[in-house]
Chain length 180, copies 2
């Protein structure tokens, strides 16, 4: 059974609350949005690369996964300059809740690099991360990108391996340079 | 002695040909151009992140270092969408020759990734690659980028090590995914 760390009993009225038809989906989340209904807990999740983000909500998500705080002004500019930003929302007609995120930078043609893949810890282990990556890769494929790269923390190496990523070193290596 | 694989005797009249004052430097190569005179062979080289590229000349350079051919239309789009493009020219008042190149993609704020670092094989081993990287890092610093990454082929690992790059794996790894 998939455990999302959620309990149906804490979601009174979920049945009506989470009904989401095509028109509402596009209205709230944009034209490229995709819904994903978890059969076990009957929650409706939505992936979208066209819905805009509440920066404070995004920062809260990124901090929930343990990342350092960054000035919102800089985060906004980084998002503006990113090639694709994907959000994962737990659907609610009035207050969709951002529970996942990923973005990538790149030249829009040859290379793309994925950054900031995050799923709220409460929702981890449920397959949503895999779905998020799959949605992002689909978005990249539409653009026609030939090579996608990412830097993975050691504790999520297997997560990417299972999705077919080829891990380096394997003729190539990656390198980091941190400015002071 | 630095060997650039060139011979003074094949450069008749180089002394006048390679004289380059500040005004001419900016006119030909742009405001941010930097000149580098190799004392041993008295050649003048110029780094610039603002001079535009002849796409065919750029492709010839990239093929000279052994990279696959790419459609020029796609290369043009990739360059347009790159954050910074740096060229290295052997100065000539009429026909500057492109002998080095590097570019990076990124969000312009937090992350940047360097791609396509190339020095024409004839000019390799002379320190120009190090100068090229140094010029590119300076351009990135001006933008205020906090983290710079790259993927290095195994035969140039030491080149980056000598410049202070921290090689992974070291808590992080890089991964590649090639689309079909």
């Amino acid at each position: 059974m998939i455990n999302l760390g959620l309990n149906k009993s804490v979601l009174p009225g979920w049945k009506n609350k989470n009904t989401l038809n095509d028109k509402t989906l596009k209205n709230i989340y944009g034209n490229q949005a995709t819904r994903y209904v978890d059969k076990n807990i009957l929650n409706c999740f939505v992936f979208s690369d066209s819905k805009s983000f509440d920066l404070i909500e995004l920062e809260q998500l990124l901090q929930a996964v343990g990342w350092g705080r960054r000035p919102l002004r800089r985060v906004k500019r980084a998002l503006d300059n990113s090639l694709i930003k994907v959000g994962l929302w737990q659907h609610d007609p009035k207050f969709p809740r951002l529970i996942g995120f990923a973005r990538c930078t790149g030249d829009g043609v040859i290379d793309a690099t994925i950054w900031d893949v995050a799923i709220n810890p409460v929702y981890q282990g449920s397959g949503l991360g895999k779905q998020l990556m799959s949605y992002l890769m689909m978005s990249l494929k539409k653009v026609g990108i030939k090579r996608v790269t990412l830097f993975a923390d050691s504790d999520v190496i297997n997560f990417y391996k299972r999705q077919g990523w080829i891990l380096e070193p394997n003729g190539n290596r990656c390198a980091f340079l941190y400015s002071n």
